[in-house]
């Protein structure tokens, strides 16, 4: 019987040095993020906080793995993993630099020009420059290759026309990495795409409009480009290589601890609400969730180890995200059966506030960064079925 090697997970590499760093991160969090009452307002956990991003940059915890000449710190992916998971578990407000640190910076590092790298990477690493991702469009969600936003050659650069949608944090970001059609798709449908580096604050003709989510929060935007001129120097990577660049970016987007820790704050509040000696039913539920998180963390660290070793664990990353988001979505459903209280965002009780927030965000977990169905299709490809 043939073994299925494509979906093999190497054991996470042992890394005792990281524990010293973990201590430093926890001390930092204790100083800068003392446990505040969550009910004092959204933003007490998770969220966007430029000041916090700058403090993390000053500690050298953004762009950790990048070369020093670009403002990075030349540390290992495993050390970076420790910082990420500690921040998420504590519910720290890391949105300001998250996308830039996770995927835009690494993409610039791989395919950017010296000029692009020198001008932007040190600012990201300092926590002073934020990015958003211009991929999805009104008619291009999972089927990303169908994007219609078009860049046409113009004197000294390109003219952009089209609309991007579901662009998280476009209203706050300094830059967008924009995926455009520059040529014909070809038979494989993956040709003719190009990525551009767009200065959102210094470019004329870009209209950014909010799209409020079902809980009334403003994360998403619609971004309309109408005859927007981009100079030739804003092409990112190769003209026509957009598809390859985007898919390698997505491996990073899918593998991190944010794919199983989105509901962790709720688990903490559930544990607090249950108290030290909960019912047998609650113990069983709690023990099960912890076993799942423990296992997911091992799988996720395994992917980090494989990335560090230079492998391309895209299918493993898809598998971890699928397992992780399934658990994240279960947590609010389990929590509400254990504590007799109605979810209420305006409550004065932490548990019901976090329950309401997590429950209402849960549908997005298995949509953002690749839907569950797309990910399972990738896993099936890893199994040799397509």
């Amino acid at each position: 019987m043939a073994r299925i090697e494509n979906l093999r997970f190497e054991p996470p590499p042992p890394y005792p040095e990281a524990e010293k760093l973990r201590g430093e991160v926890r001390a930092f969090l204790a100083e800068h993020l003392p446990r505040r009452a969550i009910t004092k307002g959204v933003g007490s956990w998770g969220g966007h906080d430029p000041e916090f991003s700058r403090k993390m940059g000053a500690r050298g915890w953004i762009g950790m793995t990048w070369p020093k000449r670009y403002g990075g710190h030349e540390r290992s992916a495993l050390e970076r993993y420790v910082v990420l998971e500690e921040m998420l578990a504590a519910g720290a407000p890391v949105t300001g630099h998250w996308v830039a640190d996770r995927q835009s910076g690494p993409l610039l590092l791989r395919v950017g020009t010296e000029q692009q790298k020198n001008s932007i990477l040190p600012r990201i690493a300092a926590g002073e420059c934020s990015f958003c991702i211009g991929m999805s469009e009104p008619d291009s969600g999972s089927d990303l290759a169908s994007v219609r936003t078009r860049a046409t050659a113009a004197e000294g650069g390109f003219r952009i026309n089209g609309t991007k949608l579901w662009t998280s944090n476009a209203h706050r970001a300094d830059y967008m990495i924009l995926l455009c059609r520059t040529g014909e798709a070809g038979e494989q449908r993956h040709g003719g795409l190009t990525q551009f580096l767009v200065d959102l604050k210094g470019t004329q003709g870009i209209a950014i409009r909010p799209v409020y989510n079902l809980s009334g929060e403003h994360h998403f935007n619609e971004v309309v480009f109408q005859d927007v001129f981009l100079p030739g120097g804003s092409v990112l990577g190769e003209v026509g290589s957009g598809w390859q660049q985007v898919t390698s970016e997505l491996a990073f987007e899918r593998s991190g601890p944010e794919r199983f820790l989105s509901s962790f704050t709720l688990l903490v509040e559930l544990t607090r609400a249950l108290g030290a000696d909960p019912s047998e039913r609650a113990r069983i539920a709690l023990g099960r969730i912890v076993a799942h998180i423990y296992t997911l963390r091992r799988l996720s660290r395994s992917v980090a180890g494989m990335l560090q070793a230079g492998a391309n664990p895209a299918q493993q990353a898809a598998l971890v995200k699928d397992l992780g988001t399934t658990l994240e979505q279960e947590i609010p459903e389990i929590a509400r059966q254990l504590i007799d209280a109605e979810p209420d965002r305006a409550s004065t009780r932490d548990f019901v506030t976090v329950l309401a927030h997590t429950m209402m965000n849960a549908p997005s977990f298995s949509i953002r960064g690749g839907t569950r169905e797309i990910l399972r299709g990738m896993i099936a490809r890893g199994l040799g079925l397509r």
Partner: protein, 326 residues
């Protein structure tokens, strides 16, 4: 994987492949003890894998020995390898004669064993003893995989060897749970491989059923459950020599046990009617999955224990507890 472990696995795969084929499984299912397989296992020294070299054992590193059981699970090994390893581990601490009273429930393969390792209580202290099977009353039973699970009654039974043991009943249960988790991981790997292969070969509506998205999505879930069970078992195998009380041990049995049920259900769905027959060998794996998940503590047992510990430690220690377990 270390080089030593890879070599051990390779040799074990060859041996299991040779001695635990369809015929052996069918005969074991009908209640026959697989003598040839057992001889090969003992000649290779696998039964004594957890006995130190000084005591005549193979003296393997514990993680190397335990990970052998993933291979054994892949092959639905129809012999008490895990149990004999466990007995050897327990007995490596034994000395003088005692008499034992009581009943041991669902002892794996008892009727086919010459001697039995018993962990007994003597005024709150653990005593380990070696008892001749002929000196016990045996009431035969089976798990749903058809593996012998016999009740043993000791009434003043004399021991062949006995002595105080540092091993507690909890530690024995924990190591057994790690073993079953490893076997479950292996069985799921096999179930995934056979299901994928079947989906590529079975043609309906003019194409292999593996071309249909509905089937692909199910197999992707099976792959996820297999990966999770394997990761959980490997974590417990690493933790076992250091700390049998580790969160990793409980997590392995909880996670692998849950994966066993989901995985077996998908494998049967993919195989359709043929997989539901005695003739097809899928049930050698799935019936073991259904048995093993409830042995040495099921998901509810280990979740209750782990949940109680997490609750007692409190919300502020939750994350530290998870990261400290490695």
């Amino acid at each position: 994987m270390s080089e030593t472990r890879a070599l051990i696995h390779e040799a074990a795969e060859r041996l299991f492949e040779k001695h635990c084929g369809a015929d052996t499984l069918r005969r074991a299912d009908a209640g026959e003890f697989p003598q040839a397989l057992w001889r090969a296992l003992t000649q290779a020294g696998y039964d004594a894998a957890l006995v130190p070299e000084s005591a005549g054992g193979a003296g393997l590193e514990m993680p190397d020995a335990l990970s052998l059981l993933i291979c054994a699970g892949r092959h639905s090994l129809a012999a008490p390898l895990a149990e004999t390893m466990l007995a050897g581990w327990l007995l490596s601490t034994a000395g003088i004669a005692w008499r034992i009273e009581g009943t041991a429930a669902r002892v794996p393969w008892a009727r086919q064993c010459g001697t039995i390792a018993v962990l007994a209580d003597s005024g709150g202290k653990s005593i380990v003893a070696l008892v001749a099977a002929a000196d016990c009353a045996i009431k035969e039973g089976h798990n749903v995989a058809g593996e012998p699970r016999d009740d043993l009654v000791f009434s003043g039974t004399k021991t062949l060897q006995a002595g105080a043991s540092p091993v507690s009943a909890g530690a024995l249960l924990a190591l057994g749970a790690v073993m079953r988790s490893a076997q479950i991981a292996g069985a799921l790997q096999r179930v995934l491989e056979t299901s994928v292969q079947y989906a590529r070969e079975r043609v309906q509506f003019g194409r292999p059923i593996g071309r249909f998205q509905a089937v692909q999505q199910n197999l992707a879930v099976l792959a996820g459950q297999t990966a999770a069970a394997t990761a959980a078992a490997e974590a417990a195998i690493e933790a076992a020599p250091r700390d049998l009380d580790s969160l990793a041990v409980a997590a392995a049995k909880i996670r692998a046990g849950e994966a066993a049920g989901i995985g077996a259900a998908i494998a049967h769905q993919v195989h359709g009617a043929i997989g539901f027959t005695q003739e097809h060998r899928l049930h050698y794996s799935t019936r073991r999955l259904w048995s093993w998940r409830d042995e040495f503590g099921n998901e509810a047992y280990w979740s209750r224990r782990l949940g109680a510990r997490v609750a007692a430690a409190g919300a502020e220690r939750l994350w530290q507890g998870i990261t400290a377990a490695g």
